[in-house]
C-alpha cells in the first residue's frame, strides 16, 4: 500500500486517489493553430522517467483536491506532496542542500 500525504486531509491510502497525469506539462498559452506543436506535446507526448517524477493525483474519495506528488518511479517511494502550484523538485533539492 502506498500512503499519499494529502496537504489537506493528511496521510491516506493511495486507493483514495485517482492518478491524473504528468505534472511537468504546462498548458500552452495560445489556443490558436499556430501553436500546434506545443499543443501536440502537451496533449500526447509523455516522458517515461526512471527516478523522480512529478505527478498530479486527485483525492477523489476525500477532499477532491488535486495534489502534486513527487514519486520515485523506480522504487515507488513517495518523496513529497504538495498543492499543484508547488515545485516539489526544487523543495527536495533545498532539503538536500540543507542536510
Amino acid at each position: 500500500m502506498l500512503i499519499i500525504n494529502c496537504p489537506l486531509c493528511g496521510p491516506r491510502d493511495h486507493a483514495e486517489f485517482t492518478y491524473v497525469g504528468d505534472a511537468t506539462k504546462n498548458r500552452p498559452k495560445n489556443g490558436d493553430s499556430s501553436n500546434d506543436n506545443a499543443w501536440y506535446d502537451f496533449v500526447y507526448l509523455r516522458d517515461n522517467p526512471k527516478g523522480l517524477h512529478e505527478e498530479l493525483w486527485q483525492h477523489s474519495f476525500g477532499c477532491r483536491c488535486f495534489v502534486k506528488v513527487l514519486r520515485n518511479t523506480l522504487t515507488h517511494e513517495i518523496i513529497a506532496t504538495g498543492m499543484p502550484k508547488d515545485n516539489l523538485i526544487l523543495k527536495e533539492k533545498g532539503l538536500e542542500l540543507n542536510v
Binding site: 486531509c9 491510502d13 486507493a15
Partner: protein, 202 residues
C-alpha cells in the same frame, strides 16, 4: 422572522436500511456483553453547503448557532452538526424537525450559497463501543488512533471500498454517512467486520 416552509416536510423519509436491520446481539458476544453497538440514525436532514464567501459563512454560522469547522474537524452538539468535507464545502446534519434548506435559502442569496439536500441520498450508521476503532481499521487506511482522530474529528474517506464520511462524536462513538444506494452493502460488510468482537444492533 423567517418563515419555515413546512410543506416540504410532508414527504416522510424512508430508511434505506430498514429491511436489512435485524435487532439483537450477534457475533462473538462474551459474558461481558457486546463490545460494539450499531444503529441507524434516521431521519436526518443532511445538507451540503458550498460557499467561498467568508462573510456569508459567518452569517450562516450565526443563524445556525454553530461555527464552521476547519480542516478535518466538525463542530456542533447532539442536535446540529457541521462537518468539513473539503475546501469551501461542508455538511450540515441535524435530526429532521424543520426545513433547514428553506431556512437558509430565505436568508441568503442563492448565488453565494449553494445548498444540496442529501437527506434522501444518505444513510447514517452509528458505531460505538470499545472496538469501534478496530472495525474502522479493517475498512480504511486512515489513522484511527485516538491521538490522530479524536472527538470532533471527521474524515471523508474510502471505507470498505465505499465513499464514506466518518464523524467522531466522542472517543468511541462514530457516525458514518454513506450513499443510500450502497447502504445495504455497507451494512453487511460492517456487521461482518464487527462479528469477531460481538455486536448489538439497537
Amino acid at each position: 422572522m423567517t418563515e419555515v416552509n413546512t410543506s416540504k416536510n410532508s414527504l416522510r423519509r424512508q430508511s434505506g436500511l430498514a429491511h436489512v436491520i435485524n435487532y439483537g446481539q450477534f457475533g462473538n458476544v462474551t459474558l461481558n456483553g457486546p463490545s460494539l453497538f450499531i444503529c441507524e440514525r434516521h431521519p436526518l436532514t443532511i445538507l451540503q453547503l458550498d460557499t467561498n464567501k467568508s462573510k456569508t459563512l459567518t452569517d450562516i454560522s450565526n443563524l445556525l448557532n454553530v461555527e464552521f469547522p476547519h480542516t478535518n474537524t466538525c463542530n456542533g452538539d447532539d442536535k446540529r452538526r457541521i462537518l468539513w468535507l473539503g475546501p469551501n464545502r461542508w455538511l450540515i446534519v441535524e435530526p429532521e424537525h424543520e426545513c433547514l434548506q428553506t431556512l437558509i435559502n430565505n436568508e441568503f442569496n442563492s448565488s453565494e450559497v449553494f445548498l444540496t439536500d442529501l437527506s434522501h441520498g444518505k444513510s447514517t450508521v452509528r458505531l460505538r463501543g470499545r472496538n469501534a476503532r478496530d472495525v474502522l481499521m479493517k475498512g480504511s487506511g486512515v489513522d484511527w488512533h485516538l491521538n490522530s482522530f479524536g472527538a470532533d474529528y471527521c474524515a471523508h474517506t474510502k471505507l470498505f471500498d465505499l465513499a464514506a464520511t466518518v464523524d467522531c462524536r466522542d472517543i468511541d462513538v462514530f457516525d458514518i454517512y454513506i450513499a443510500r444506494g450502497f447502504a445495504e452493502d455497507f451494512w453487511g460488510t460492517l456487521v461482518d467486520a464487527a462479528a469477531e468482537f460481538g455486536y448489538q444492533v439497537d
